[in-house]
C-alpha cells in the first residue's frame, strides 16, 4: 500500500515537472507574439527595426538570466509602459477591453430576445384579431359535409 502511494506521488511529480519547467523557461518566440515594438506599432515578432532588435536582445538577456515569461513582460512594461503589451492587462482600466465587449454582447442578445418576443406576441395578437374565417361557407360547407359523410372517415 505504502509502495503504491510512493509510486503515485512520483508519477504525479513527473507529470507536473514539464509544466513547471515550461513556466520557468521563457521563450523569445512566445514572448514576441505577446508584446509590441513601441516604435513600429506592430507585434515584436513582425518588427525588424533597430528598436525592435534592442527589445529582442533585452528579452534574450532576461531569458538567459532565467526570468519567467511574466517577469520579462513586467520588465518590458517597466521600460516601455503598458502599451508594450499586445493584449491589455486584465486589471484597472485595461480590464474594460475585456469587459465591455462581453457586456455589449449580453445587452445586444437581451435586446434581440426582447425584440423577437414582442414581435411574435404582436404577430399572434394580430393573428387572432384579423384571422379570416377560413373554410367553406354556406352551400359549400354543406356539400363538403355530405362528401365527407360518404367516405365514412
Amino acid at each position: 500500500m505504502r509502495g503504491s502511494l510512493v509510486l503515485l506521488a512520483l508519477l504525479a511529480l513527473a507529470a507536473l515537472a514539464p509544466a513547471a519547467a515550461a513556466e520557468q523557461q521563457a521563450s523569445l518566440i512566445e514572448i514576441e507574439k505577446q508584446v509590441m515594438c513601441p516604435v513600429c506599432g506592430t507585434l515584436l515578432q513582425l518588427a525588424e527595426s533597430p528598436q525592435a532588435q534592442r527589445e529582442k536582445a533585452f528579452i534574450r538577456r532576461l531569458i538567459a538570466k532565467g526570468k519567467t515569461e511574466a517577469q520579462i513582460k513586467d520588465a518590458l512594461v517597466a521600460e516601455y509602459g503598458d502599451e508594450v503589451l499586445a493584449l491589455p492587462q486584465g486589471s484597472g482600466f485595461s480590464l474594460s477591453a475585456y469587459v465591455v465587449p462581453i457586456v455589449a454582447f449580453v445587452v445586444a442578445a437581451v435586446a434581440l430576445a426582447i425584440g423577437v418576443m414582442r414581435w411574435r406576441r404582436a404577430g399572434s395578437d394580430k393573428g387572432e384579431e384579423d384571422a379570416p374565417d377560413v373554410g367553406p361557407q354556406g352551400e359549400d360547407a354543406d356539400r363538403l359535409d355530405a362528401d365527407l359523410a360518404r367516405y365514412d372517415l
Binding site: V39, S49, Q53, R54, E79, G81, D82
Partner: protein, 172 residues
Amino acid sequence: MRSSIAVLAVLAVVGLLVFGLVSKGSSGVAVGDPAPAGPLPQLEGGGDGSLADYRGQWVLVNFWASWCVPCKDEAPALEKFQRQHGGPHFTVVGIDSRDLTSDGREFVRRYGLSYPQLRDGDGGAAHDYGTTGVPENYLVDPTGKVQWLLRGPVDEQYLHDEVAPFLPEGKS
C-alpha cells in the same frame, strides 16, 4: 424613454469617434506654443525632472534614443554646444524616448554627455510634442514657449547658425 436611450447611444458612439480622432490627430507643438513640461523620470539617479525646472532659462530639448543612428551623429555636436553655451541662462536637456534605460545610460557614457537627461520610456512626452521620430530638437524660451524646432538631427554648424542667435551674448 426609448428615444432617450437611442439618443444617448448615438451620442456615446459619436463621442468615442471624436475622442479617437482627437487623440490620434495630435499635430504636435509649433513655434509659439507652450512646450509640454510634464514630469519625467531622470535617466540617471532617482526622482523626476521637468522642463518646468528650467523656467527662466533657454532650453534646447533634444529627443533621442540609443538605437537611432542620427542621434549618435548629433550627440557630439550637442555636447560641444552645451560646453560652449551651457550656464545659468541656457542648457540642453535630452529626452531619451522609447528606449531601454540601460541602453540610454550606456549612450550617455559613450558620448560623454554632461547635460541633464530625462527618460520617456512609453513615448508619452514624444506624443505630447507630436514628434514624428528621433532625433527632434525644440528651443524653448525662458517663458516656456517653443521658439524654434527641427524635426531631424542638428550639427555644429546648424546649432551655431540657427540656435546660438537666440541666446544671450557670451556664455549663457
